[in-house]
Structure formats: C-alpha cells, structure tokens
C-alpha cells in the first residue's frame, strides 16, 4: 500500500490509474468535463487541476499517483483558476439553459451553479450554427459544444464507428461529421453513446415526447405501450429509488395514470424472438448455411453490419427485434382481437435505446402510411413525461402488466443485458440447464462452447461496437469460427443504452444487470417455450414456430446500404454510354481499381472518350457481388474486364 498526501492528510492508494481516481476514492469529486474512465485520457478541460508541492498546477486526470506526493485540491489559486476557466467556457456557450434538453443533467450548468459563477465577464464568442435534427436518434447542437471530445472518443474508441471527429483548429475547432454533413448523411448507427457522455446539451437524444402526448391525448387512438427489459432496472435511479431495483409495476402505473390504454412487456416479445431465433439457428446449423448466425435485436448493430460489413448481412438473423415483433402482433393480430383497425392503434415503446427510434422508421416496418411501432421514447423521456405530468411516484400503486402480452419468462428479461439473448436461446436449445455463466458479465468479448445434439456449438457474445469490429475482422479473416454471435452495440448491453438515465458512476451498469438477473431468479419460468402465452399466440395466430405465417409477421430482410452519395468523374464524354464503376471498400478489395484501369485503357484505345461518361462511385449496394459496374442504369455484378467490354460493345451497337 502506497500513500500520498491530499490537503495535508495521508491517503493510501493502490493501482489507481491517475490522481483523479485517487482523489475520487478519497471522497472528493474534482470537476471534469473530459475525463471518462472508459475513454482515453484527453486532458483538455483543465478543470481537474491540483496544486503540487512546487505550487505548480497539474491535471489530476493525466498524472499517475506517486508515493509521497503532496497535493492540494482547493487552494485559492485553484479556485480562481477553475472559476475563470469555467467562465471562459461559458463565454462561448449558448446559455439558453432553461430550454435545453440536458438542463438538469448538464455538467456545465451544475458546475457553474456549484462554483457560484454569477457573471460572465467575457463576451462575443457565442456561435449561431444550425442545429442538426436530421437523425432519428440524436440531435446535435454545436452552439453548446465545449469541445471536450468525449463524444469523439466514445464514437471512435468504444464504438469503433468514428463518424464524428474534430475539424478545423483553434477558435474554429469543432466537432462534426466529415465535411460537416448531417448525421443522417453519414454512417452514424444511432447508438447515442455520444449523447450519453456529452456533458452539455451539444448532443442529446432526439425527443419524441410531443408525439407521445398527442397520441395519448387523441381520443381516436388506442395507445398500447411496451416496456423494454432494461428500462425497469434504471428507471428508479431518477427518483432516488434503489439502484438496479426493478420498477416495472411503477412504470405500468405511471403510464396508465398518464392515459395509456394498455401496457405490455417487451420481454414477452423477447420470448417470441427467442423461439424464432433458436429455430433459425438449428436450421442453419443443420444446413451449415451462413454461419455464424448474428443476433439482430440491436438496431445499431444491424446498421453497423449493413454499413461496414455488407457481405455479412446474410448472417444476420431474419427475426425482427422484440420491439418490432411487438409492433407486428399488436397491429396484425391484437387489433383484430380488440375489434380495431391497426391504424387506430398507436404502439408506444419505452426503450433504453436511441437506435430503436430509427429502427421503427425503417422501410421494412412501414405499411402505407403506418408503422408497426409508432413512437419510441427512451427511459429518460418517460421520466421527463412523468415529471411533466406532475405524477408523484411515491403515491403510485404498483400495477401488473396487462395480459396477454404482459407475461414473460426469465429468458425474455435477460435480453436487457449483454449475454442475455444468447442465454435465453441456449435455455431453449438445451432444455435442462438454466444458468449459462460463461456468457454473463461485462467483458467486451466472451466466448463459450456447448454441446448441442452431439455437436459443439461455438458462441461469442460481444458488447461495444469496437469489440464487434475486432470479432468481425477475426471472422472475416478466418481466424475465428462461431455458430452463434450475440452483439449489443452499447457496452454492457441495453442496460447501458444511451436512453437510460445518465450513469452516475461505473457501478450503475453492474447494479442494473444484477436487477435483471434477480428478476430472472424470481421467475418460475426461465425458458421461452414454457411461456403459456407464447404457446397460445402460436396456436391462435401463427400456427407454429418458423411457419410461413411466422416468417411473414415476425421476420424481415436486411440489406446493404449505400454509404456515400458522391462519385468521382473520370471521363466526361457526351454521355451516350454511362459507366459507373464501384470502388467502395468491398469492390475495391475485389479489384475494382484494376478493373477501372483496364476499362480506362480500353476506352482510350478505342477512342471512346467522346462518347463515354466514366465515373467511380462509392457504393452500388451489391457489396457481396463485386466488382459492381453500372452501365446506363443497369447493374452488373462479378464483373471483369472482358464482361465490361462486352457490355460496352453491345451498348455501342444498340446505340448505333
């Protein structure tokens, strides 16, 4: 045990990474905007400065603790330093706090009030940049950005997406997507983790509260709500209830009080998902086709595959996510039970997740003007609605979920935590064992293997997309083989979703997970196939697991997505023949560039430069079948020099 001195008192420490953590463990919370234990140390906000023996100010976040160090945390010099630094930040900050999404959760506002900043003496630096509302999941307001870079590091280091970054420098420095494009125009997967770490209102979760209110207040609408598993174990944090304690019955009561007609449990549809997915896995193993099977409950992960690993979209489970299955059976089946048109029903989801907001708007889930799921609210939005409605949580009665879709097994509940989907599926496949400990816990990549019908079933469980990237690269290069891979985009799974209340400390994720496992333990039933309500649904509606009807309602198709809209003009002729060669990643790796060189040479040799328009484009959405070439609007896959030339020749002939 080593010791150092903080404000004149000896403090012991062990293996803390830096002074900031030592000081935190000692019981002093130094202000910081840019330090997150899960991200790399950035050291830019300069708020966690402490004074050393030489009276120098050093940043606690980036100083390793040393035996015998003597530091002070609140000298006059430091107080003044922090206050002026904060004042400098405030000078450039859009200070419309009352109308800000982050309001009570804003670190900047909280510190300003804690430090008693009463006046900002510097003026004239507030920007007026347009707010980016283009994403379904998050809103970006650069006027509130303090450039701490937390979002950038989160997006890059933890999520491996890297869609936002720093641009320009000095006073012009800003966080933005490449070329200052809108979030909807770039490869954002909507996981919202950037918003979860943003200390101010610069990146916040897109709010759909208004739509929720208007559906509830519309008498012609029958509002059916679903509550995702992870929501119930985080909800209480906002009201000072026990961390990780399950509050589903309070939430049901609150929603009913607000005016929702029926409140069901997404865990029920999770059970349904497990039924379909386990069947799909067994089929695929039997046929040895498109393995590993990837889970598809997490929409951020699904989009990540579509964008970055288009050649693996066929490996994604065709099962809709529990949220979307819920939407399907409510609109396609339950509506009839109620004697309503599906358009009379509003499906309201309460989710821990921001990507669910985008998922429900996918084209696959749109029927005419209607969507299977109409409005998605995050846990945080629900909390805000409850506060807005003035509901006093302590006076609420505990109410059970409505039936028939309010009953679930322990397996469905586990969906809220990393490893949960895999465990629920294994329970169905195995039929005997209940607990699968190898897939539990917060490790980024977990591996396990189980005997199944005489075969070894190899499983991987991943959370955090940068871990998914590591795994995918291993799979792609053939270094690893799995049969089943569960991926949740957010670290720790849905309990760590960006729609959850801001995590007060590192421990809150563990407590939420424990809450889910406690619920599972209390549940008499642990296997989805033991859920009588599920059995009934199959009997009454679908006719069995994996049937044609089940596929029609509970399954979907994923596609490869175009990543860039732009193209590079190479030859500008009259445009009699228009050729586009895809040079996007997949095609590039399959030799599209060499193909381009050959075609280019051919065009020159045959003196076609006046007639041909040649462009290089970034994606023609047939990534698995590259190199892809588009000639006069028609797509050709698996092309080579000979085939392209043949096409050109035939087009030339028809043109003549």
């Amino acid at each position: 045990m080593k010791t150092l001195t903080i404000n004149g008192r000896e403090v012991s420490f062990t293996d803390e990474k830096n002074l900031l953590e030592v000081i935190h463990n000692y019981g002093i919370e130094l202000p910081t905007f840019c330090y997150h234990s899960e991200l790399s140390t950035y050291g830019a906000c300069r708020m966690c400065l402490v004074e050393n023996e030489k009276k120098q100010l050093i940043a606690a976040c980036s100083t390793p603790p040393k035996e015998g160090m003597k530091i002070k945390t609140h000298t006059d010099k430091l107080q003044k330093q922090r206050r002026v630094t904060l004042e400098l930040l405030l000078a450039g900050h859009d200070r419309e706090c009352t109308t800000c999404h982050k309001n009570d959760d804003c670190k900047l506002r909280k510190l300003a009030s804690d430090m008693g900043i009463e006046e900002v003496r510097f003026s004239g630096n507030i920007k007026n940049i347009e707010v980016d509302n283009s994403s379904f999941s998050i809103t970006r307001n650069p006027n509130k950005c303090i450039l701490c870079g937390d979002c950038v590091r989160m997006c890059q280091e933890v999520q491996g997406v890297g869609v936002i970054g720093f641009a320009y420098r000095g006073a012009d420095a800003a966080v933005m997507p490449a070329f200052n494009k809108l979030l909807s125009e770039v490869n954002c997967v909507g996981c919202g983790q950037c918003a979860a770490v943003c200390p101010t209102g610069a990146i916040s979760v897109k709010s759909n509260i208004e739509e929720a209110w208007s559906a509830i207040n519309d008498d012609s609408k029958y509002v059916v709500a679903q509550i995702a598993p992870a929501v119930r174990v985080a909800f209480g944090e906002a009201f000072g209830l026990k961390d990780g304690g399950a509050c589903e019955n309070l939430i049901v009561s609150a929603l009913k009080t607000i005016g929702v007609n029926k409140v069901f449990d997404t865990c029920f549809s999770a059970d349904l998902t497990v039924m379909e997915e386990a069947k799909e896995l067994e089929d695929k193993i039997e046929k040895g086709l498109n393995l590993p099977l990837f889970t598809s409950c997490c929409p951020a992960w699904v989009k990540y595959v579509e964008l970055k690993y288009p050649d693996f979209t066929k490996n994604l489970s065709t099962c809709k996510s529990p949220q979307q299955m819920f939407g399907s059976f409510v609109k396609d089946y339950y509506a009839k039970e109620l004697g309503l048109e599906s358009s009379d029903i509003t499906v309201l989801s309460i989710m821990p997740c921001t990507a669910k907001k985008e998922e429900c708007k996918r084209d696959e889930f749109k029927h005419g003007d209607h969507y299977d799921v109409d409005v998605v609210l995050t846990t945080q939005e629900l909390i805000r609605m409850i506060r807005e409605a003035g509901i006093m949580i302590e006076k609420l009665k505990h109410e059970p979920f409505d039936m028939p879709f309010g009953f679930s097994t322990g397996g469905g509940i586990l969906f809220g935590s990393t490893g949960g989907v895999a465990e629920a599926a294994l329970r169905v496949l195995d039929g005997e064992v209940k607990e699968f400990h190898a897939v539990r816990g917060f490790q980024g990549i977990k591996e396990a293997s189980y005997d199944h019908k005489g075969k070894k079933l190899k499983i991987a469980v991943v959370s955090g997309l940068s871990n998914a990237k590591i795994l995918m690269d291993r799979i792609r290069t053939g270094r690893s083989h799995y049969d089943f891979v569960e991926v949740m985009a957010c670290p720790g799974g849905c309990i760590g979703g960006a729609g959850q209340p801001i995590q007060k400390n590192i421990g809150s994720r563990e407590k939420r997970a424990k809450g889910l496992y406690d619920l599972d333990n209390k549940n008499q039933l642990c296997r989805a196939n033991d859920n009588p309500m599920i059995t009934k649904l199959y009997e009454n509606w679908l006719g069995g697991v994996g049937t044609k009807k089940a596929h029609q309602h509970l399954h979907t198709q994923f596609r490869q997505r175009r990543r860039f809209e732009s193209s590079i003009p190479l030859i500008k002729g009259s445009g009699t023949i228009n050729i586009k060669i895809c040079i996007g990643t997949s095609c590039y790796l399959k030799g599209a560039y060499d193909l381009y060189k050959e075609v280019d040479q051919y065009i020159k040799e045959k003196e076609l430069t006046h007639t041909v328009n040649l462009e290089a484009t970034f994606c023609l959405e047939k990534c698995t079948e590259g190199p892809v070439v588009e000639i006069d609007g028609e797509l050709f896959t698996h092309t080579d020099k000979a085939s392209v030339i043949q096409y050109i020749e035939s087009f030339k002939e028809t043109a003549q």
Partner: protein, 168 residues
C-alpha cells in the same frame, strides 16, 4: 479538353500516391500533400476515397485536412502567393502589400482565389526570410524586399507568361 485528360490522370495519380505510401494511415499527411499538388485542392470525393483506401474514417481525414493551414478544400489558384506577415515583415509594412495585392487581384479577406483560378492570396506567419522583409512567396519561390509596385510587376509577368502559354 484538358479537363477530360486531367480528371483521369489525376485519379490514376491518386492511386499511385496511395500505393507509394503503402496505404499507410500514418502517411496520411504526405498523401494529402501530394494529392493536393495534383488537384490544387482536396476534393471531397477524393478525400472519401483516400479514407477508404487507407482504412480510416472520412471524419478523421476531414479532421486532418482542416487542421493544417496548407490544405484547402476549395480549389486554389495555380499560383499561391503567400505574403509573410511575421514580426519582421509586419514591422516593415507587409500590411500595405496585402492591401495592394488584394486590390490588384480583386480579392478580399474572405475571397482568396481569383475566379480564373490563377492566383490565391494568403498571409502566412513567417517564411523565415526575415532578413529580406517584407517577403512574399509565390509557389516555392521567395521574393524579398517587396514593395507594392514590385509585387505588381511580378504578377504582371506571370499573367503575361500564362497568356502566352494559353495561346500556344
């Protein structure tokens, strides 16, 4: 006509550049410098292409391209005039040069490139020719002890030369 040829040649060149740097992300700055020499600026599509070819995100490439002063995302003139506004030149009235050249080329603080893409006018903090203050640099050539009249003469010569080249 030159357009058609150059588009193609440029793209081939971009690929040569990337290959010469082994698609190595740590060579990004050199790649961007060489590509900029080809196009005289960094077109968005090409930056996306580079990002893909060296396996980094477009936002990172954009971040690097906007951090350094010498990179430009808008087309630059064939001749880049850098007026030194370092201490020594500033003391010796480089501001007058800036005013005179802007006037001569019809440029302003916010418009730094002529419409015919012949000239781009920039100020730089020091070109290290302090002994010859005030100094300007046209592409890689340094001119010392420049007066507004001398600067105009230099530009006239370039314009004349370009005109002759174009006629040929």
């Amino acid at each position: 006509m030159s357009d058609i040829k150059s588009l193609n040649r440029n793209f081939l060149k971009v690929n040569e550049i990337i290959e010469a740097h082994h698609s190595d992300p740590s060579e990004l700055i050199s790649i961007l410098q060489e590509v900029q020499e080809e196009y005289r600026y960094l077109p968005e599509e090409i930056l996306n292409y580079i990002a893909m070819a060296v396996h980094i995100s477009p936002s990172k490439v954009f971040g690097v391209a906007t951090f350094y002063e010498n990179f430009s995302l808008a087309p630059k003139g064939k001749y880049i005039i850098r007026i030194c506004d370092g201490t020594a030149c500033h003391v010796r009235k480089s501001t007058e040069l800036i005013v005179a050249l802007r006037k001569k080329l019809g440029l302003t603080e916010n418009k730094d490139t002529t419409d015919d893409l012949l000239f781009t006018l920039q100020t730089v903090s020091c070109i290290g020719a302090c002994g010859l203050a005030p100094a300007i640099m046209i592409n890689e050539e340094v001119h010392g002890k420049v007066t507004p009249e001398k600067a105009e003469m230099i530009l006239e010569e370039i314009i004349k030369r370009e005109r002759v080249n174009n006629e040929q």
